[in-house]
Amino acid sequence: MRLLRNYVPQLTLLPSLILVAITVYGFIALTMVLSLTRSKMLPRFDRWEGFSNYLKVWNHPRWEVALENFAIFGILYIGGTLLIGLVLAIFLDQRIRIEGSLRTIYLYPMALSFIVTGVAWQWIMSPDLGLERAFHIWGWESFRFDWIKQSDLAIYCVVIAGVWQASGFVMALFLAALRGVNQEILSAARMDGASGPSIYWHIIIPALRPAFLTAIVVQGHLAIKSYDLVVALTRGGPGFSTELPSTFMYEFTFSRNEMALGASSAVMMLVLVMVLIVPYLYSELRNER
């Protein structure tokens, strides 16, 4: 029995570890191997191409657009939701308590698949049906909102919809964290004559650091998963102007039968994400321990 007690913890952990390890390392390794071959429609491991696939992807005009869009989307989406979420939380926190139903409403978009709410967004953003026409009818004739039809602006439509979906969620995170700010420190600061803005800047926002971490991790993970958003809203168009690395990979692997190129793009995406996120996670979490 004692023997069992000693080994049960390790044994019970094992299935999850093995499953995660296989899905992550095993499959990523296979993708890496494929990226070095000359596979087209089917995988083949008899002819090696070396790193030239990577060069081909890197020099591809669509990949350039995909990377640029990924940067625009990632920065604006994470930054936008954090900013809006924080401002809303600070605004709402002092005056009223957002409990129950209102908080659930703020969180609802986050609980819905974008494939589904994307339908409404297509309507809102369509110049023939949505906002633009509504404003024309209400008398604002010169109002223009046809970004979704313009190749250089369509990606910002994806950003707007994404920010809509997640801002309420970030706000809920910050609201909870604001409640946890030490009241004694706050009243001490007020006694010492600290002004409202400086209290926020020097005491409250630093105290929100763990909430920032959670928000950035969750939002970062969603930004990487943004495939649904693009599929629902623009399908990569107009042309390939809202291409993302994930749509690029899908197109080359499954529609164009350029599997090796698709695999190369996937590996490049992986490396990019790791370079961006892993250092941040480690620096933050090392402090936490």
């Binding site: 992550v24 809102i124 801002s167 995170l173």
Partner: protein, 276 residues
Amino acid sequence: MARAVTTRRKILTTAVAWTIGLLIFFPIYWTILTSFKSEAQAINDPPLFFFFDWTLENYSVVQDRSDYMRFLWNSVILAGGSTIIGVLVGVPAAWSMAFVPSKRTKDILLWMLSTKMLPAVGVLYPISLLFVQFGLLDTRIGLIMVLMLINLPIIVWMLYTYFKEIPVDILEAARMDGASLRQEILFVLTPMAVPGIASTMLLNFILAWNEAFWTLNLTAANAGPLTAFIASYSSPEGLFFAKLSAASTMAIAPILILGWFSQKQLVRGLTFGAVK
């Protein structure tokens, strides 16, 4: 940050808070509303906000044309199946990490969670290759496995944060009284763990229900859930707008209702345990 505030300010901010709530809810509201309009009313000039001839026609057309019920059933099976299997695999792991922590526990947990940050495209091809090899393409069982695997880190993480809150003293007291490991788990641990497990299951059900990347890429007509069903409609401009809204409404209704009746768990689940 409670401070004395005047009534007028309070009313003002309450009003603003609800306005923001309405703005956030608008696309959802609009989808639901449009689903009850005729196709002509859906693209009417000016937009109709409430006063129009409510109709259920779209719902019956959608059902007739593309067998909505089958997609719904697939969604239920995929989300439910992957959740149950995921929790079965995840509970022992979370239990071990929460109650018998070792030096590596935190690292293992972080590592598991960090794998969620990796883009899914990195493993898309190998998984679809496996699916072809084993004839799993467009089958429910294959997709259940994939959904379970991709959400497993979140399940373990959520369960771990819940289990962490269970006081260890009680377990030790039970052990002192001579409870065996089996009794300890069955009569002491389980009753206290059930709420956490339920919240985790709710969150995971929602995540799996909404999953689009894998369902779009690995299924077709046979095992496709609601996300695949809606994405399969081409651009809604013109004719199909009301029908598409009806289909969307039916896809989000279960989550809206489920979420409303379990608000607490929803909030906690969606914020990954940060908001209690």
